[in-house]
Amino acid sequence: MVSSLARVRGRLLAGSRGRVLNGILLILIAAALVLVATRAIALGPAYFIQIVVYGLADGSIYALIALGYTMVYGIVELINFAHGDVFTLGGFVSLWLIPIFGLEEAKSVGPGIIIPLVAILVISMLVCGVVNVAIERVAYRPLRHAPRLAPLITAVGMSFVLEGLMFLWRGPFNLHYPNLLPADSISLGGSASIAYKDIAVIVIALGLMTALSLFVERSKLGKAMRATAQDRDAAGLMGIDINRTIAATFFIGALLAGAGGMIYGLYFTSIAFDLGFSAGLYAFTAAVFGGIGNIQGAAIGGLLIGIVRVIVDGYFDSAWTDVVVFALLVLVLVFRPTGIMGMRVPEK
């Protein structure tokens, strides 16, 4: 009853005023594009292509983390602040495994490194998955019926705990991550080129994301997840094991974050224990961009943030990059309150 009232009210609001707002949004977008275009023309197309490639690679990493945020939010309506630190954990675990698997910077080259790298990737992902499920069991599940903000605070607490553990493990410094991916690149015409590294990052990230969305759409567990996200109680009544489904969601989200951590390390050749804080903040922003709860939206949001960042970095002043990204976030929500991809959030 209440929710249908709200929907009617929302539709009324979206009427004439919505059209005006959308008009303003279009004008703002056009102005921003013109501004970027004038700078881009001055610096030439090769440079533009080059930085967009970087933006896509950065963005795919954000997208990987954002998926976990969006899935967890969709199902338990919790902003899981510890998720960014699970991402860092993926980097740390894989960094620890690399020498164990006998890989060394500048010595291990060629296709022979693919198998150990995949093995490391899988193990790091699984470790992150198990850790995240444990966090859910210990810190979130007991609070499922507590006041809404209580799990938010335990999430912050778990974030500190994870950071504290990684701090103890490897200390406060930036850790050098072996540069194992080939440095060669393919020319894209002019001075622009795409490195194998960039391709690897984008392909792995997109592959994992496609696998995930297929899983959620096709598999039985995926169906259970969607059902639980829509109405937990009804799903429970239909015989879905709610606890198992939620745990699975945390597990899958952490798999992707763990993969993201390792890819980040390989791509940027450096990780630090407190990386998750800002990476998580950006990924979360990406999830909101795409309409939180929406898996494809999160992926697109991540890529978009990556591109916006490099454009500000590359054409304007990077001191303002974060301001632009967050201002964009505010604007997107003001004009399209459910994200660029839109998603009907159940009114509760």
């Binding site: 970087y54 980040y264 050749t269 450096s270 630090a272 990077s318």
Partner: protein, 427 residues
């Protein structure tokens, strides 16, 4: 009903605990001094009097990468002189981070706590210029000597028209109590600009900074000198290092603008040398920076791309000083972990060394008794020709090091090591 009553009692106890804890936070720390003394007294016949040299550094969370190794240096230096003329000299570290970020408010509280303990006669720190601005006025009123290993902001000690606040505004008593051993930004940045233009014979430079007080200040001064002596700034970026790790757009822009060198207004703790690592395969030009990049961490971060890197060091060549080598070796025995040693470990060691030296002279001057805080300040001011691990020290009336030497270092060999190249004196 029974349970309710229990829970209210819990609340009452909790509130009482809050009240108790309000003091617990502080008193716990204050009682440590005497407690430690009695503990020591049990084993050795400890002397009655005690002098504490405190430190205030960011030692937890993300900032710990700057603060912890620095604290190790100071602690080690103080531990070299456990007693002097029967007076015990001990070290007491304070941490000025809140949630892992240096916090001027916490720093100010730490200094107030030091002042409340009459045994504290001097402090090493702070690490960050902003914390210094909050602490100097408080320490000034309590006549506590401060000795910073890393503050380089020129306005902390010298008066320029653009300075706000003016150095005098930070010193309510009108007397100076603040000293530092690092050369101000107005020395280090321009020195590298001259070096790039005159020695490396390069004129087009791309500059980036970490947008923090030290990095941005030194980069600004580099650019000022570069453009006033015929060089060109190709492009400039101030990164928010906490949220970004991707510098490739900047590197490509530098390449497109024809940059012949890069200047990093940053430290290895703020990702300076990760930029170097990402330059691989895109832009192969010399990489220059301030003393903040002159450590092993930087070489590790740079990965395989370590050739052609240069930094300025406010101190002379430490390797020429055989005493320094012995000290470094002894330090590595006491602190074996690689992460115990950072760019500011030995500057902090020197700070503590200067303070211990001043305390000793003040004890002498005071007839073998514990001196007053002002006497320690006077003794620090009178320091002359004291040889530390990374420099030889004397101070001018502002608290700046007198006649600092500026040295240039570069990377050599594989695996690369920082190597001394040349030095000159600045007034």
């Amino acid at each position: 009903m029974q349970r309710r009553w229990l829970s209210t009692t819990t609340i009452a106890i909790a509130v009482a605990l809050v009240a108790a804890a309000c003091g617990g936070g502080g008193t716990g720390a204050t009682t440590t001094g005497p407690a430690a003394t009695t503990a020591a007294a049990a084993t050795t016949a400890a002397p009655a009097a005690e002098i504490i040299i405190a430190s205030d550094l960011p030692t937890s969370g993300a900032d710990a990468s700057s603060g912890l190794p620095t604290q190790n240096g100071a602690a080690f230096a103080v531990s070299q002189t456990p007693t002097y003329k029967g007076i015990k000299i001990t070290f007491k570290p304070f941490d000025d981070t809140v949630n892992g970020v240096h916090d001027p408010q916490k720093g100010a509280q730490n200094v107030q706590q030091m002042l409340s303990d009459p045994k504290v006669l001097a402090m090493v720190g702070p690490f960050n210029s902003n914390v210094a601005r909050a602490e100097i006025p408080i320490a000034n009123q309590g006549q506590l000597a401060m000795m910073s290993p890393s503050n380089t902001n020129e306005c902390l000690t010298q008066l320029f028209p653009y300075c706000d606040p003016k150095p005098a505004a930070l010193r309510p008593t009108g007397k100076n109590n603040y000293f530092r051993i690092a050369a101000p930004d107005t020395v280090q940045g321009p020195a590298m600009a001259d070096y790039v233009i005159k020695t490396l014979k390069l004129t087009k430079v791309a500059v980036f900074s970490d947008n923090e007080t030290f990095g941005k200040g030194v980069a600004d001064n580099f650019v000022k000198r570069l453009t006033s002596t015929g060089g060109t700034l190709t492009n400039r970026q101030d990164f928010d290092m906490k949220t970004t790790s991707d510098f490739k757009a900047f590197i490509n822009a530098a390449k497109a603008a024809g940059a012949q060198a890069i200047y990093a207004g940053a430290t290895s703790a703020t990702k300076a040398c990760i930029v170097r690592s990402q330059m691989a395969g895109i832009l192969d030009v010399p990489f220059t920076g301030p003393d903040g990049i002159g450590d092993d961490q930087c070489l590790k971060d740079a990965g395989a791309n370590t050739a052609n890197m240069y930094f300025t060091n406010a101190a002379g060549d430490a390797a020429q000083n055989p005493d320094a080598a012995a000290t470094v070796a002894a330090f590595k025995v006491a602190y074996p972990k690689a992460s115990d040693l950072g760019a500011y470990t030995f500057p902090a060691y020197d700070c503590a060394l200067i303070l211990v030296d001043a305390v000793k002279r003040a004890i002498d001057a005071n007839g073998g008794k514990v001196p007053s805080r002002q006497q320690v300040i006077d003794a620090v001011q009178a320091t002359s020709g004291l040889k530390g691990t990374v420099g030889t020290y004397a101070f001018d009336a502002n608290g700046d090091p007198k006649s600092a030497t500026m040295a240039f270092w570069f990377t050599k060999g594989t695996p690369a090591v920082w190597t001394f190249q040349s030095q000159f004196s600045v007034q």
